[in-house]
Every structure is written in C-alpha cells, then in structure tokens.
C-alpha cells in the first residue's frame, strides 16, 4: 500500500521538558489512523508539526513524499486539517470563511462550499457569523473547512470535541464513508477511546511524548476485550520499563 504520511525521528522538546521524542510512523492510503493518548501526551504537538504550525527540533514529516518543513505548499496540497478548536474569523459569515479557504483551490466553487456545509449540518447557518456559534457548531465549521478541497489526507485533532452525541455519530459516519468510498486517509487524534475504537482501523498509543505501540484495531481487539484494556496495558508496560531503566 502507498505510504501517504512518513514521520521520521520527530522530536520537539519545549522548555518545560515536555513534547515528543523520536516518533517514527508510516500511514498508508485509506487508513483511518487513531492517535490515542491522554492530555499532554504530545498528540497536538505532533499534529502541529505535521501541519507546519510549529517546527521540529529534528526529524521530518513527509506527505506524499514531500517534506512539510522543506516543501510546505506541495506537501499540503492534498491535505485538509483541523487542529484543536477551530477558530474561524468572527467578523466573516460561515460562507465567507469557507470562501477564504476556497480561493486556494481552483476547483472549489460555491456549490462545493454549500455541499460541505450541508455535510456537516450547518448549511442553514451559512450567513451567520461564527462568533454566535456554539463550540459544536464551530467544530462543524472547522470540519467543513478541512473537507472543502476534497483532500486525500485529513489530519483531525480531537474532531469530536464539543459535538453532541448525534454530531459525533454523523461525523464518524462521514469519516468512514470518505475512507471507504474516496480512499481518504485519516490521521485522527483523540483521548476518547470509545470513538477511536469505533472509527479507526489502526491505532498508535502516545504517552509521555513517546509512541508506545502501533497495531491494527482488529489485532488489538483479538487480544484484548476493549481498546481501553490495551491502552492501560501499554501504558503500564511503559511505566515498568521506564522505572526499571531509571527514566
């Protein structure tokens, strides 16, 4: 299978000694990869580096063979992303916000903007300004912006944040639909184990800035009753290793 994202030796340490260390990972076409870890584990840091918002201390991320640090425009050409809570321009309407994004893609027209607003369930609010939106609606607008260009890769950081149950189910269905029918590759971070289990077909556990393990959801559930049990087991194993090595 074609390698879509290649993360090699990715390291970023903040002044408070937190961050990520030596992350190596390959994501293949059509995968829905779940990046699972507790708050502060380094998920957002890794995703911010993947989308060029911060620079790594060393290591690199390549998307379709293009380096994010060296060839940003080319690397991001087929990527849509949502990092943390989506903050759209509060003085522009939902439609105008998406129009701003659409200008970077020649084949995205007004019809496509309406289509993604419909897909995310906020078409009726297209002429309203997001400053009046609830967190869930802002998140839906962020997802609409991420999907706007029909990207081949979607990098979504906590996409279920702020969504109600109905919204979570809708977005989950949408992700599964895009992966199955359009071969879209997903890189999704979440601390919501249940949602990751239901959505992703390959899972990586990140803890304390380190990637502890990567396996398919099917393998994991063959060996453990739930994803939660697997997560706890991996974290405990890491705890034993790090305490025995004096880290």
């Amino acid at each position: 299978m074609e390698k879509v994202i290649e993360i090699s030796d990715l390291t970023k340490i903040y002044p408070n000694s937190r961050g990520i260390r030596n992350i190596n990972l390959d994501i293949h076409a059509g995968e829905i990869f779940g990046f699972l870890g507790p708050n502060g584990a380094g998920k957002t840091t890794a995703m911010k580096i993947m989308t060029g918002l911060i620079k790594p201390d060393h290591g690199d991320v390549k998307i379709f063979g293009r380096s994010v640090t060296e060839e940003y425009e080319q690397a991001m050409a087929e990527v849509g992303c949502l990092i943390e809570i989506a903050q759209a321009y509060p003085f522009l309407t939902a439609y105008e916000n998406l129009k701003q994004q659409a200008r970077y893609y020649p084949d995205v027209d007004s019809r496509r903007i309406d289509e993604v607003l419909e897909l995310t369930g906020i078409l009726k609010y297209k002429d309203e300004k997001p400053k009046k939106f609830s967190l869930g609606m802002k998140q839906r607008l962020g997802l609409a912006a991420a999907m706007l260009s029909r990207p081949k890769v979607l990098i979504l950081d906590e996409p279920f944040n702020g969504l109600d149950v109905e919204g979570m189910i809708e977005i989950r269905k949408l992700i599964l639909h895009l992966a199955k029918n359009e071969q879209t590759t997903f890189f999704i971070s979440s601390h919501l184990i249940h949602d990751v289990e239901l959505t992703c077909n390959r899972i990586g556990i990140i803890f304390d800035g380190r990637l502890l393990s990567v396996d398919t959801t099917q393998n994991i559930l063959n060996n453990y009753p739930t994803l939660e049990d697997y997560f706890v087991s991996e974290v405990e194993r890491y705890g034993r290793i790090s305490s025995s090595s004096g880290q």
Binding site: K55, Y72, E73, A86, R103
Partner: protein
C-alpha cells in the same frame, strides 16, 4: 502567483470587513471638513486668506501624515498580525497550501493598498473642498505637483507600517504593539526635535519627505537620499518582520 493573488484577495476582504478601515476614512474626512471650516472661519473672521485651492490638500496631508495615517497604519498592522495571533485564527490561514512568505507578503501588500486608497480618498476630497471653498487660479503643473506629493507621502507611511509590522511580530499582544508604536513614534519625533541634525535619517523624520516635492526646483540629491534611506528601512523592517513571522509557532 495564483496562490499569492488568493492570499492578497483574502487579506483585502478581511481588512474591508473590519470597521476600523471605515473609521479611518471617516476620521480623514472629518479632518478635511474641520480644516475647511477653520479656513473659512479665519478668512471671514480676520480677513486672512488661509489657503488657496491647491494648498489645502497639502495642508490636510501635513496634518494627517503625522496623526491619523500612522495611527491607521498601526491599526491595520495590529489587526493583520497581532489580532490573528491572539485569537488563533492564524491557524485557519496557515494550514493551507500557501507558504508563510506569501502570506506575510500578501498581508503587507494589503496594508499598502489600504494606505494608498486612504491617500487617494484624501487627495480627492481635499482637492474638491479646496476648489469649492478656496477657489483661486491653479495651474496644471501645480496640481501635478500636489499629486506627486501625495504619491511621495505613501513611501514613508509604508515604512512606518513595516516598522509596526515588525513590532507586531515580536511583541505578544496587540495592545502592547499599539502602545510601543505610539511611544516609539513620539520618542523618534522627540529625538528629531532635540537633535535636528539627525531628524533627516529617522523614519519619523522622513514622514516630511514629501515636502521636498513641492519645491520650485526639485532637490534631486535630497530626494534620492531620502528615497534610499526609506528603501533601506523598508528592506530591514520587511526582512526582520518576515524572519519573526516565519519563526512563530502557533
């Protein structure tokens, strides 16, 4: 080029949708109206001529060039940079297939366009007011000189805007950028006043560069020196501003 054009259109749209731009235009218009009322008052009250039709636009330019226009440039720079950094909308912009250099350049270009548009509006309105209320003989040559003076006044204002953009990329909040800009402006003006021998090389001293274009015989050497100084400041401020923008983490 298509990507840069898209970034520029986006920046122009964002600036247009903000009320501050309208406020600057209204304030400039108010200066013209108040200035004209004062001239008419002086003329009818004391019998002093005040200004002629072509002197009025220059008088307006001299007033706004040291007050409203640098303030307007500061507000635009703060909105374009600090505003987007603090409310995290920069992430919405930076995660698209467009390089930071193109985004930075598009923002700078959008600010330049709005300064230029404001100057054109000022020229048109003050010329109309000048011709309506202070009608006297005006030659085509002197009107061309007035236009040239307005064109020349764009460059120092743009350099001031680039300086504020540099501040916006180094200081954390928009408020601190605003106060630092005002303070620096006053300090540099003060230095120029206390040490007039250095006024000509300070960016604030160069705000009066357009006066050189009014002389009967153009002082080409002085104009060239001023232009080269402005160019030097522009290159330094743009490069340093971009460096800090490129290093920023969101």
């Amino acid at each position: 080029m298509a990507v840069f054009r898209a970034a520029l259109v986006n920046e122009l749209e964002k600036l247009w949708k903000k009320r501050k731009v309208l406020l600057a235009v209204v304030l400039s218009f108010a200066v013209i109206v108040i200035g004209q009322l004062l001239i008419v008052g002086i003329r009818s009250g004391w019998g002093i001529r005040g200004t002629g039709s072509l002197e009025f636009p220059i008088l307006v330019l001299t007033v706004v060039n040291n007050t409203i226009l640098p303030l307007f440039a500061a507000l635009l720079a703060i909105d374009c940079f600090s505003g987007e950094f603090s409310n995290n909308t920069a992430r919405f912009l930076l995660t698209r297939p467009v390089s930071r250099f193109k985004i930075f350049t598009a923002k700078v270009a959008a600010i330049a366009v709005f300064i230029a548009v404001n100057l054109v509006l000022l020229l048109l309105l003050s010329s109309v007011a000048g011709f309506l209320f202070n009608a006297n003989s005006a030659s085509l040559i002197s009107y061309i000189k007035t236009i040239l003076t307005y064109v020349a006044s764009f460059f120092p204002l743009f350099v001031i805007a680039l300086g504020i953009i540099l501040l916006a990329n180094t200081l954390k909040s928009g408020t601190s950028v605003f106060f630092a800009s005002v303070l620096l402006f006053l300090v540099l003006r003060g230095i120029g006043f206390v040490f007039p021998q250095f006024a000509g090389i300070l960016p604030t001293g160069l705000l009066d560069w357009h006066h050189l274009w009014l002389a009967n015989t153009l002082p080409l050497a002085k104009i060239t020196r001023g232009f080269l100084l402005l160019l030097g400041y522009a290159i330094i401020f743009f490069t340093a501003g971009y460096y800090f923008f490129e290093q920023k983490e969101f």
